[in-house]
Structures are given as structure tokens and as C-alpha cells.
């Protein structure tokens, strides 16, 4: 892989307008990645999801060179309909179109900031890979006291032109004081057997509100990894929702640093998997100062050889008195071919805190099925109703009504 990486790196930047200093800087990331390689199960973080092995067996050799110069045609059918929104369209990792038609021009800034990479040098090998190959480092800034009028949908579209390829994508968001942004990520894949590596970095200043909804429901054979870092200042709020279902493999990592008093973070997720899919959600919520709050709810429904993993950590530093941290994961195993792994972790160094976690996994409750059947529904209907209710519980945590309904209709949940 090493030779391939060096070759593809050179090819990627031979015609680039980056100066040699910047390219050398990227090269450092490349060398770090070469040294560390793709993560495998020898790392605690990757204990339940051996990415190196999965890529080897599912894809084989990866190509790291992605020719992003020729533009792709946007097919208008990919847009969500009946739902007013701003959009950014990525096709095969290339930013094709940015459309912020509903927003005031001087309140939103899109720029490139190279320096940002420095802030993310020690996260993990995949972030290093990302930093090595992403040519553009976009920053979307929401100016002070401005709230996005409509949600921003980011379409991550891939088509058949790419195969066995590694795509790297990085976006940065800065929410200045007292701003708000609703962001929806739609993964829409027509390609097969690629490894897609995404890195989002959010900075939430005082009183900022971020709502990020990540939707992966289209069946596809791609392998995905996404790392989201959220830095939160005083009284800011982040809500992350993950609907993880479509890709062959998907690991979503959320790292949230509650740096300011009264900041809060919510992470909710659904892993609805079948057909040998293997998805993971890993969170670490770090309470670093007083009076912060976090809440996490992750539910999985598994059938047909699927595997779900939840690793969730609440960290409370000794300065973070009056922390309120909660975390719950539940899984329903519909068949013996499925597997659920959980590692819910608490690491606490302050005493005046309220922290708890729970994890439960098992079959559907037969008594509940019986109760429903005694009211006239058959076994299949009773089962569906229960699963529906089980998942609805997470969907109902979505605080934006319009997006809640959108997501409900996407997965056909009834209420």
C-alpha cells in the first residue's frame, strides 16, 4: 500500500496550485498515515470493527488518487422534494454546487482555510489520511446573530465512475455567537466498493445551536468512516442524529468537547441493519467544565447476519462539577446470526455529578407481542408495531419538527 499511497499522492498534487510548503505539510500527514496504516482490531477503538481487514476482504487494493478536475452533471432527481432547503452537492467527492438561496449573502461566508489542518493532527490515522489527500479545506462561517432560515442539505452523491477508490472529504463549520444551523447529510450512493472517509469539524461559539442529521439509508456496498469533531463554547447546544442503515460498513465517530459552561450535547442514533451489514457508532463526550449536559440514545435492530457496535464514552474532568451525563443503548436481535457489541464507558474525576449509562440487548418481548395480539393484531403486525415503537422513540428525540417528519417518511415509520 505504501508505494501506491506515495504514487497517488504525487499524482494528486502534481498539477495542484498549492505551494510546495503546503504540499510538504500534507506529506507529513501522508507519512504519519503510512506509519500507522489502516486501523485494525489491535486498537481499542477498532476492537469490534477491524477496518483494515474489512477493506482488504471487501475492496482489496485501494486507489487513493481521485481526479476531481472534470465537473459532473447534477441530476435534479437527487434533490429532496417538497422541502425547501439550501444545498451543497458533492459528486464522487468533488464539490459541484453550493446553493444558499434562502440565506442572506453577507451572513454566511465560505472560505478556504489551510491552517485548520494543524488543529487536527493527532486524532487518528484516518484523519491523517484525510488531511493528506483533501485539497480544499472549506470553512462555512455563520456570522454573529444569524440563524439559517432553511436547513442546509449536503448531498454526498457517488456514481459508477469510481470503484475501489478512497475518497476523502473535509468540511469545517464555524458558528459565531448566537447563531444556528440545521444540517442534513444525505448519503446517496450508486457506486460500489469504495472507501469514503469524511471529516467534519464544528466550532460552536457562545449561544450557537447546531443540529446535524446524518442519513445513510440507500443500500450500497461502500465502506464509510466519518469523524465529527464538535467544540462547544458557553451555552451552546449540539444535536447529532445518525440514521445508519444503507452502507455495507459505516462507522460514525462523534467527539464532542464541552468547553464552556452550560453547553450541552445530544447524540441520538439508529442502527437498522440487515444483510451482513456492519455499522458502528462511537461517541466520546468530554465534559471539561462546570454545569454541562449530555444525552445519548442509540438503538439497533438487527437481522440477517448484521452486526452493530456502540462504543460510547462520557468523560468528566475534575473541573466539571455539576455535570449531567446520560447514555442508553438498546438492541433487538431478531436472529441468531446477528451480533451486538457495546462498550458504554464512564470516566469520571469529579464528585458532584450525575452520570449513568444503560445498555440492554435481546429479543423482542414476547409478553408485549402477546398483549398486542390479544388486541387483534397478528404476529408479524405485532412485531412491526413493536420495532416501530422502539425506533420511534429515537426519532422523537429530533427537535426539529419538519426534519423529524422528513426522516420518518424516509424510513416509512408510522405514528
Amino acid at each position: 500500500m505504501e508505494k501506491q499511497l506515495i504514487r497517488d499522492f504525487e499524482k494528486s498534487f502534481e498539477n495542484s496550485n498549492l505551494d510546495s510548503k503546503k504540499i510538504n505539510f500534507k506529506k507529513e500527514f501522508l507519512n504519519k498515515f503510512i506509519k500507522e496504516g489502516l486501523p485494525g482490531k489491535n486498537l481499542e477503538n477498532w476492537k469490534y470493527s477491524d477496518l483494515s481487514k474489512i477493506i482488504k476482504t471487501e475492496i482489496g487494493d485501494l486507489s487513493f488518487y481521485n481526479n476531481i478536475s472534470p465537473p459532473n452533471k447534477i441530476d435534479s432527481s437527487m434533490y429532496l422534494s417538497g422541502f425547501e432547503h439550501n444545498s451543497i452537492v458533492f459528486i464522487n467527492g468533488r464539490a459541484e454546487k453550493i446553493d444558499l438561496q434562502f440565506e442572506e449573502k453577507d451572513k454566511v461566508k465560505i472560505s478556504e482555510d489551510f491552517e485548520l489542518e494543524k488543529t487536527s493532527s493527532n486524532i487518528n490515522s484516518l484523519v491523517n489520511l484525510n488531511n493528506a489527500f483533501t485539497e480544499k479545506n472549506f470553512v462555512l462561517t455563520v456570522k454573529e446573530n444569524y440563524s439559517f432560515k432553511k436547513p442546509l442539505v449536503i448531498y454526498h452523491y457517488t456514481n459508477k465512475k469510481i470503484k475501489s477508490q478512497n475518497l476523502n472529504l473535509r468540511l469545517n463549520f464555524e458558528l459565531e455567537k448566537n447563531t444556528s444551523l440545521k444540517l442534513i447529510d444525505i448519503l446517496d450512493d450508486f457506486s460500489e466498493k469504495n472507501f469514503i472517509n469524511t471529516f467534519y469539524n464544528f466550532k460552536l461559539n457562545q449561544d450557537a445551536i447546531l443540529k446535524n442529521y446524518k442519513v445513510d439509508i440507500k443500500n450500497n456496498s461502500n465502506i464509510k468512516y466519518s469523524f465529527t469533531n464538535i467544540e462547544q463554547d458557553k451555552n451552546s447546544l449540539s444535536e447529532t442524529f445518525i440514521l445508519s442503515s444503507g452502507s455495507a460498513f459505516n462507522k460514525n465517530e462523534i467527539n464532542c468537547n464541552l468547553n464552556g459552561n452550560y453547553s450541552s450535547a445530544f447524540v441520538n442514533g439508529i442502527l437498522s441493519l440487515n444483510k451482513k451489514k456492519h455499522h458502528e457508532i462511537r461517541t466520546s463526550v468530554n465534559h471539561l467544565t462546570e454545569s454541562t449536559k449530555s444525552y445519548q440514545l442509540i438503538k439497533s435492530v438487527l437481522e440477517n447476519n448484521a452486526r452493530a457496535v456502540y462504543q460510547g464514552k462520557i468523560f468528566v474532568s475534575s473541573d466539571a462539577q455539576k455535570t449531567d451525563g446520560y447514555q442508553l443503548s438498546k438492541a433487538i436481535l431478531l436472529e441468531d446470526t446477528t451480533e451486538f457489541n457495546a462498550k458504554p464507558e464512564l470516566e469520571i474525576y469529579a464528585d458532584d455529578v450525575k452520570c449513568s449509562h444503560g445498555s440492554a440487548s435481546g429479543s423482542l418481548n414476547e409478553n408485549s407481542i402477546f398483549y398486542i395480539m390479544s388486541r387483534g393484531l397478528n404476529y408479524k403486525e405485532a412485531k412491526e408495531l413493536l420495532i416501530n415503537g422502539f425506533l420511534l422513540d429515537v426519532i422523537n428525540k429530533i427537535t426539529d419538527e419538519e426534519i423529524k417528519n422528513l426522516i420518518k417518511s424516509m424510513i416509512g415509520l408510522k405514528e
Binding site: 475534575s318 457495546a342 462498550k343 464512564l346 464528585d351 450525575k354 449513568s356 449509562h357 440492554a360 435481546g362
Partner: protein, 486 residues
């Protein structure tokens, strides 16, 4: 000036003794193996214990394996590198060269030691209904109530004696739960273990009394590597307790025991530990490294193994008493109280491996950290594909006192069976001002109040202990936290 400072240091000594009342050492002449870890030392140990060749070969095999093993480094408490060549692996009171035939032949100093510990070995002063095996440094010094147990066919003796008298049982079961190759400290133990207890309960026998071993490290620079093997044959029951103390020494001492339990069809083993090794002084100097491997195999159908532990001592504790639930309908339980204060560190928990059908496990863990200490609960529950209709319930609660200490909960949960259910709950909290105020208003001082509340917090686990131990454990809980409230 001089007098004053010696006065001071005396006071300090007294102060120290008050905190850890088992901190005296006994002046007894010892026979020791030469310092260091090598084949010669292993041969020396095996020879002095007159072991059969198969056991010496077994030890040497473990030693070969040890050479390629690395010390585990994934546990949270880190410790300075141990120089294994600078330790004694065998130490026995000189008067023991020939094992005394009866208690009358015992060195009076030894008897005195156990008396100070509250463990009378002379049968006229014996504890009610508890048979005691006392292990002093590396050897078992006395076993009480032998006759009464022999009547029922129960074998309760030191493992050295069992090797001589019941080699077929030892050969069959030794290493059958903790294999030679398991991990560094377990393998080290297999190479150099010196003594420990052996229990065999024959089919259908309900052991009429609690069996107990009392471990004492006395000699300095000595590692203690005891080995305990308990076999409950079909339909039998046994309850076993162990207690441990050590003198206060400024250097750290290594204790790496292996305990193996085997329960056959319909058998039940209850294993309770009150671990009170010297924890080091309040600045973290000295104390025992307690790196213990304890594992039980529910081999037969309907078998049950229940671990209860009260861990208050040691500078570093690193242990996971586990159950392998192989037999259908077998049950594994783990009840734990772990308390760390000052600079103590503990990384403890359990593993419940569900292999058989209808297997059940229950984990109740209560961790309390105070001072500058750090406490980790680490546990694994694994329900395999074939373990239909299995259940696990886990409850882990942590209590923190102050913000200089840490509580870490790290459960690993795997479920591969759709008909099995797993539930895990964990909380972290502190003693509320209201609770303290309430108790104080009723006339308790703050330390008494804390002791009371903490005992309440631990109640579910304390209830599991045999009565004789429960009282001692309750006191221990209070004492361990002394000085932790301002």
C-alpha cells in the same frame, strides 16, 4: 530537638498503625530460595516441596512460556517496572523445614501472629464453624477441623499436601481453568507457585462449615504466589472464604495468585474474599501489587459459581474473578465492593462467558473512590451464539468522594444470541449533603455518617458474605475511608 523529632516519628508510627492495624511484621527466621527467577529456583521450589516429576515439568513448561510473554499493559493503573530477578520466590519459616505434625509444634511466634490477626489456630479457641488454612509467606502453616471434614470425605488441605496425597485430583484439574499459557502473571504463578489451598468436595456432600484460608505476607522482598484449587463434585456445595493481610513496608510487594474453581453437575461453589493487603501509606509509598487471576468453570449442568469480594487493600489491585458458564442452566454471580483511598489504584471486575443454554449471570459492582485514588470497573459479558435463552444482569455503581479521585466504568458487552437478554446499568454519584446532614443531625460524626451511607450503598454485596465475614467487612469499609471527608 532530637527528642522532639523522634517523638514525632513515633507518633507517626502510631498514626500509621491506627490506619492499618495489620501492619506489624513478625521476626521469624526464614528459609529462602536464592533471589531471582530462573530454572534453578524453580527446581529448588519443586525439590523442597518434594514434588513429582510431572509437576516440575509443568512448572518448567510455564517458565519457558513466560520467557516469551509480555506483561499486560492494557489495564489502567500503571506500575513501575518490576525487577523479577530481585525477588525471592520462596520463603518459609525455618521451623518449617519439616512441617509440624500438630499445632503444638508450631512456632509460638506464628501463633501469636495469627492471634493478632484475629485468626486463632488452636482448635480450643477456634472460630465457630469455620475451618481455617493459614498460609504464612509461601507455606501453609496449619489447617483446622481436619477430622470433622475427613468424616464427610471432604479434602481441605494445602495444595502441597494435596500434591503428595491426592496427585490424581491435582493432575486432573490443575491448569484446567487457567491454562499454563494464559497471561503473564498467571503463567508466572504456574512456574513458581509455592502453596495455597486445595478443596475437594465429593458427590452429594454439602460442606458443613465455611472453609477459610488466611494469607499473610511477612518476609520482605518476597513475592507471594499462592495457588488455590477447589473442586465441587456432582451435587455438592462448598462455601470458601479468603482473607489477606501484610505488614507495612516501604517497598512494593508482588502478590500474583491463581485460583481455579470447578463445579460439576448440580454443584455450587461460593467464594468470598476480604482483601486487605497493605495499601501503602497515605502518600502512596509501599503496598502490595495484587495481580490475581481467579476463574471458575461451571463445567456441569445446573452448576453455580458465586464470587463475592471486598477489596479494600493493596496499592494496585488488578483482578477479574470470572465464570465460564459451560454447563446448561449454569449460573455465575459476581458481587464486588472495591474501595480505593489515598493513592490506591484498582482495576477490577469480572468476565461472564455464556456458552451453555439457559445460563444466567449477575454482576453487582460497587466502587468507591476517595483521596487521590483511581478505581476502574472492567467487565466482559459474552453471550455466544449457542447460549440460547441466557440472561445477564449487570449493575455497576460508583461513588466518588472529592474531585481528586477517579471512577471509570468499562463494560464490554457482546450478544450473539437473539433469544438471550442482557441488561447493564451503571451510575456514578456522590454522598449527598442532605444525607450527611440528616445523619449528623441524628448525632453521628461525619466519618460515622459516611461509613453508614457507604455501607448502605454496598448493602447488596455485603449481604452475600457469610455472617462471620460480613461484620468484619462492614468495619473495613468504614476504616478504609477514614480521613476521606474533610
Amino acid at each position: 530537638m532530637k527528642t522532639e523529632s523522634s517523638q514525632n516519628s513515633r507518633e507517626k508510627e502510631i498514626e500509621k498503625l491506627k490506619k492499618y492495624k495489620y501492619g506489624f511484621s513478625t521476626d521469624i527466621e526464614n528459609t529462602k530460595a536464592p533471589k531471582g527467577l530462573n530454572e534453578e529456583v524453580i527446581r529448588f521450589i519443586s525439590n523442597i516441596k518434594k514434588e513429582p516429576k510431572w509437576l516440575l515439568d509443568w512448572r518448567l513448561k510455564a517458565y519457558q512460556r513466560l520467557k516469551v510473554l509480555k506483561e499486560p499493559n492494557w489495564q489502567k493503573p500503571k506500575y513501575p517496572k518490576i525487577n523479577y530477578q530481585d525477588l525471592y520466590y520462596y520463603s518459609a519459616p525455618k521451623s518449617f523445614k519439616e512441617k509440624p505434625k500438630s499445632l503444638d509444634e508450631l512456632d509460638p511466634k506464628l501463633l501469636e501472629t495469627y492471634k493478632k490477626l484475629g485468626i486463632p489456630l488452636q482448635e480450643q479457641k477456634r472460630l465457630n464453624n469455620i475451618a481455617v488454612d493459614a498460609v504464612f509467606d509461601s507455606v501453609s502453616v496449619a489447617t483446622t477441623f481436619k477430622d470433622k471434614l475427613t468424616e464427610k470425605g471432604i479434602i481441605f488441605c494445602s495444595i502441597s499436601e494435596a500434591i503428595q496425597k491426592h496427585p490424581e485430583l491435582v493432575k486432573k484439574y490443575l491448569g484446567s481453568v487457567i491454562p499454563l499459557t494464559d497471561h503473564f502473571f498467571a503463567t508466572l504463578n504456574s512456574a513458581v507457585f509455592t502453596d495455597g489451598s486445595f478443596v475437594y468436595v465429593p458427590p452429594g456432600v454439602r460442606c458443613p462449615m465455611e472453609l477459610s484460608t488466611y494469607f499473610r505476607i511477612n518476609a520482605s522482598d518476597t513475592g507471594q504466589f499462592e495457588r488455590t484449587l477447589i473442586i465441587a463434585d456432582k451435587g455438592s456445595y462448598v462455601s470458601y472464604l479468603e482473607g489477606c493481610t501484610a505488614p507495612m513496608r516501604d517497598e512494593n510487594q508482588l502478590h500474583a495468585a491463581n485460583v481455579e474453581l470447578i463445579a460439576l453437575d448440580d454443584a455450587e461453589i461460593k467464594y468470598s474474599t476480604v482483601q486487605n493487603w497493605y495499601p501503602g501509606d497515605k502518600d502512596g509509598k509501599g503496598g502490595i501489587y495484587n495481580f490475581v487471576t481467579k476463574r471458575g468453570l461451571c463445567k456441569g449442568i445446573n452448576s453455580k459459581i458465586s464470587w463475592t469480594q471486598v477489596e479494600t487493600g493493596s496499592a494496585i489491585t488488578w483482578k477479574y474473578p470470572s465464570c465460564i458458564l459451560k454447563g446448561d442452566n449454569s449460573i455465575g454471580e459476581f458481587y464486588s465492593i472495591a474501595i480505593t483511598n489515598n493513592h490506591q489504584k484498582a482495576d477490577t471486575g469480572t468476565k461472564m462467558i455464556h456458552l451453555g443454554k439457559n445460563t444466567k449471570s449477575k454482576i453487582i459492582s460497587k466502587g468507591i473512590s476517595a483521596g487521590f485514588s483511581d478505581m476502574t470497573y472492567r467487565g466482559l459479558v459474552d453471550i455466544s451464539k449457542k447460549a440460547d435463552n441466557s440472561r445477564n444482569y449487570t449493575q455497576c455503581d460508583s461513588l466518588l468522594m472529592g474531585n481528586k479521585c477517579g471512577a471509570h466504568t468499562v463494560p464490554y458487552i457482546t450478544n450473539k444470541n437473539s433469544g438471550s437478554n442482557l441488561a447493564h446499568e451503571a451510575t456514578t454519584s456522590k454522598i449527598s449533603e442532605e444525607q450527611l446532614h440528616y445523619c449528623q443531625q441524628r448525632g453521628l460524626n461525619s466519618e460515622e455518617a459516611v461509613g453508614l451511607i457507604v455501607n448502605g450503598f454496598c448493602k447488596e454485596v455485603l449481604q452475600q458474605l457469610p455472617m462471620e465475614f460480613a461484620v468484619e467487612a462492614q468495619k473495613l469499609v468504614g476504616i478504609s475511608l477514614e480521613g476521606s471527608v474533610g
